[in-house]
Structure formats: structure tokens, C-alpha cells
């Protein structure tokens, strides 16, 4: 049974809302689909909403980090939004800092962040998340 997470296009951005508990293959398919769609639509940003996820383990975490890294090479920025507090607490204890992945509290703020990056208001050289890491 192959499951696919839908990717929506909104202007220059791609939107993904992960609503199901993904198995590893579904997560890899999403990563591949996203990178393909970035190129196809010449997207400038990707917003990934994980507010429905009650678990993010190292595999899903790695998928998010890899997607952000690939998107960056393809000239698109990635923002992960809506992480549940219990998930954030667990990720840190697990040892996953999600370096290089920008985050925002919710979809609205994530879209604002993507817009401001696309307009050059905030450059990649000023990673807001890295500041919080150490």
C-alpha cells in the first residue's frame, strides 16, 4: 500500500500538511516528491506543517533536515511549522537538533517567514534557528 502526502502549490511556495503517521517509505516518497515539485514549479519556499504529528523520530527528523538541505541547493527555503511541544522536548532529548531547519509556530507565521526570505528581508546567512541551538 503506497501512501502519498499531497503537496499544494500556492504562488511561489509549496505547502505540505502531514496528517498521517508516516511509515519510512511514505516519508522518503514525500522527500522525493517535494524536491521534484520544487524544480517543476520553480518554488522559492516550502512550508511543512507537522502540527498533526504526535511523534517525530530520528527517521522523520532526518527526512525534514534532508528535505531542507536539498531545497536549499535548489534555491528554495524550508520552514517547518506547528511542532507540538511534547515532540520538541522529545526530539532534543533524542539528540536531534534539526540544524538548518527553520521553524515557525504556525502556518501563518511560517508563510510570513517564507515571504520575507523570498523578498530578501532575511538572508540564508542569518539562520534564526541556529541561534537557539546551543
Amino acid at each position: 500500500m503506497e501512501q502519498r502526502i499531497p503537496i499544494l502549490k500556492m504562488g511561489r511556495f509549496l505547502l505540505v500538511s502531514i496528517q498521517v503517521d508516516m511509515d519510512d517509505r511514505t516519508a522518503m516518497t514525500l522527500q522525493d516528491d517535494l524536491t521534484a515539485q520544487i524544480v517543476k514549479h520553480r518554488a522559492r519556499g516550502v512550508l511543512i506543517d507537522i502540527s498533526s504529528l504526535d511523534v517525530v523520530d530520528s527517521f522523520i527528523g532526518r527526512m525534514l533536515a534532508n528535505t531542507a538541505a536539498m531545497a536549499r541547493i535548489l534555491d528554495a527555503d524550508t520552514v517547518v511549522v506547528g511542532m507540538q511541544p511534547s515532540v520538541a522536548i522529545t526530539l532534543v532529548e533524542l539528540g536531534l537538533s534539526l540544524k538548518g531547519v527553520r521553524s515557525a509556530l504556525n502556518v501563518e507565521r511560517g508563510m510570513e517567514l517564507l515571504r520575507s526570505i523570498a523578498e530578501g528581508g532575511e538572508s540564508e546567512a542569518e539562520p534564526t534557528d541556529a541561534d537557539r541551538e546551543e
Binding site: 500500500m1 511509515d23 511523534v55 507540538q84 522529545t90
Partner: protein, 137 residues
């Protein structure tokens, strides 16, 4: 200590890791774990179940609901008959991996648990038992 309830499930392939997460979540909720406690043990279970599939050729997970008279806990026992872990100290270190993962599975699962026991021998497989107690951070 009393084992109030027990159940064993087979974990052979990657998609079954999702089933492991759901089963552990259900048990943790039934035991009255807080949301953070639930998330920690479900995440630890996900790491260990994936390791078992990826490196141990699959195996079994036994869930045990514990009651020591004062508090309730959940013990998860992952058992496989795979190749075992040749260098356990290295495997427990963050960042160590022989596969394509991040090498956070074992060390991460240990940090997310209150108790962690591992027995492994080359050629004989691996048995990992983790326990989380309700209300223990």
C-alpha cells in the same frame, strides 16, 4: 513487581514500525502517562523497532504493564535473532551507525527511558528492555 498485562507483537518489516508506535501510544494512554511521557516512550519504541527491522532481521516486541504497588510503568522488550551488536559501546554512542541512519537510535532510546537493559551476542541476536514509569521524568 506485578506484570498487570502483557502482549507480544511481531515486527518484521518497516511499515510495522507505525503499528508499534500506535500500540505503545495506546498502552501509555491507558497507564495514565502524561503527553510528554507518552511521546518519549513512543519515540524510543520507534527507534528500537526500526533498528530491529533494519539490523536484526525483524523480531518481536513484548509490552508489559507494570505495577510495583506505588506506581505504574510500561516495559517494552525488543527481541531479535539477528547478527547481534559486535561493538556495543560504539553502538550506544551518538552518531555511530553502520547503516544509513543518524546513529541516534540506541543512545536516544536510552535517554528517553527510565531504565534500559541490553543483552547482545554476535550471531545470537539482541534483547533490549526499556521501562518508563508514570510520573518519573
Amino acid at each position: 513487581m506485578r506484570i498487570a498485562k502483557s502482549e507480544t507483537m511481531s515486527v518484521r518489516a518497516a511499515p510495522e514500525v507505525v503499528g508499534v508506535r500506535h500500540a505503545v501510544r495506546k498502552w501509555a494512554v491507558e497507564l495514565g502517562f502524561s503527553l510528554v511521557e507518552q511521546t518519549k516512550i513512543v519515540t524510543a519504541a520507534s527507534e528500537l523497532a526500526r533498528n530491529m527491522v533494519d539490523y536484526g532481521k525483524g523480531g518481536t516486541l513484548t509490552l508489559e504493564g507494570l505495577d510495583d504497588g506505588h506506581r505504574r510503568g510500561l516495559r517494552l522488550i525488543f527481541e531479535d535473532h539477528g547478527p547481534g551488536i559486535p561493538d556495543l559501546a560504539a553502538a550506544l554512542r551518538d552518531g555511530f551507525t553502520t547503516g544509513s541512519g543518524m546513529g541516534l537510535g540506541l543512545g536516544g532510546a536510552r535517554r528517553l527511558s527510565n531504565e534500559f537493559e541490553i543483552k547482545t551476542a554476535p550471531g545470537e541476536g539482541t534483547r533490549i528492555a526499556i521501562t518508563r514509569w508514570r510520573g518519573v521524568s
